[in-house]
């Protein structure tokens, strides 16, 4: 799968799960894994850090 931002190849680990964030090593954009069915993976733009994020 390629990065929707810069088209570089996205490295998605085999054990990555839905909800995890993957980052493009070229442009640094963050994507969230939104669906995973075997080797088929869908991603969406990750949410940006909100003011209420944390512990």
């Amino acid at each position: 799968m390629n990065c929707p931002e810069c088209d570089a190849e996205l490295n998605i680990p085999n054990d990555a799960a839905v909800g995890e964030i993957v980052s493009c090593s070229d442009c640094g954009a963050d994507f969230e894994i939104s669906k995973k069915d075997g080797s088929t993976v869908e991603i969406k733009q990750a949410e940006t850090v909100g003011e209420d994020w944390g512990e």
Binding site: A17, V18, G19, E20, I21, G50, D52, W53, G54
Partner: protein
């Protein structure tokens, strides 16, 4: 066998460790992404599936808090409870409840407009720390060392003008070593603690690069954290302590969706196991 539901909005190593631990202990798990979950006023325990107990682990405080309200509406046990999360997610409410329960905490001042905050700051004197009432990882925690800084920060609050920007939380600067102590409590019992050493500035958040180092749980830490946990309603908490050179330990913050990737590196305690066992105990009650 119980079914443990772990609610997240960003799947981090902590949630994966909790899931693995629950499975290793012979339980069923369900991972729920809060961002894609729906409720309505007819939702109930029978037409939804959140298992026997829910661990709320959202990174967004307000999302997690409102999700918790929905789960409690279904009468499904959730950790932490809404009442606990609503207190701990707001620094002002935490300070008040700590003081009310005679738990040592830094002196903190509250103002409800920019003018009143500036007037208060001038009256109290410098330095002071200004913190957002909701927020974490040390973000927007700023030392006010003089009038110019105070003016700039208060003016900035006026520009961003979020509803909580009108609540001014000002705290004394505690004379302490360049570190604080993070204690994880489960059911009012400290299970692990670490020193978080500043990586240069005055902030000691692991999220900002502070260096974790194991801290022995002394009787004093145990007693203080038990009292603090009980004061806010218990559950699974991250209690932050400062070591005031004259007054001793003080509780300055309590976190209701505690991260433990820093502490797990230095602690011998199986932190996720303690958390899962507590969740299972709450099902049995």
């Amino acid at each position: 066998m119980s079914k443990i539901c772990i609610v997240f909005d960003r799947l981090r190593s902590e949630e994966k460790l909790l899931e693995k631990q629950a499975i290793d202990l012979g339980n069923e798990t369900k991972m729920v992404d809060a961002k894609i979950t729906h409720f309505d006023t007819d939702s109930n325990k029978q037409n939804t599936d959140f298992g026997d107990v829910v661990l709320e682990r959202c990174i967004s405080y307000y999302r997690g808090l409102h999700f918790t309200a929905c789960i409690e509406f279904l009468d499904v046990p959730i950790i932490n409870k809404f009442s606990v999360s609503s207190l701990c997610g707001n620094k002002m409410l935490t300070s008040i409840i700590l003081k009310k329960n005679n738990i040592p905490t830094p002196k903190t001042y509250f103002s409800f407009s920019a003018d009143a905050a500036l007037e208060n700051i001038e009256k109290i004197g410098y330095p002071l720390i200004i913190k957002p009432v909701v927020g974490s990882w040390g973000r927007s925690v700023i030392p006010l060392k003089d009038r110019d800084t105070a003016d700039a920060i208060i003016e900035q609050r006026g520009i961003t003008d979020g509803p909580l920007d009108r609540i001014f939380y000002l705290q004394e600067v505690v004379d302490r070593p360049p570190r604080d102590i993070r204690v994880i409590t489960v059911n009012d019992r400290p299970i692990a603690a670490m020193y978080r050493k500043s990586s240069g500035g005055f902030k000691t958040n692991v999220a900002l690069g502070a260096d974790p180092e194991i801290c022995d749980i002394t009787n004093e830490i145990e007693d203080l954290c038990a009292k603090a946990s009980k004061a806010v309603g218990g559950g699974i908490l991250g209690i932050d302590l400062m070591e005031d050179k004259k007054r001793g330990l003080m509780v300055h913050e309590i976190n209701n969706t505690v991260e433990f990737k820093g502490l797990i590196k230095v602690s011998k305690t199986n932190i996720p196991k303690e958390m899962i066992e507590f969740a299972l105990d709450s099902v049995r009650k």
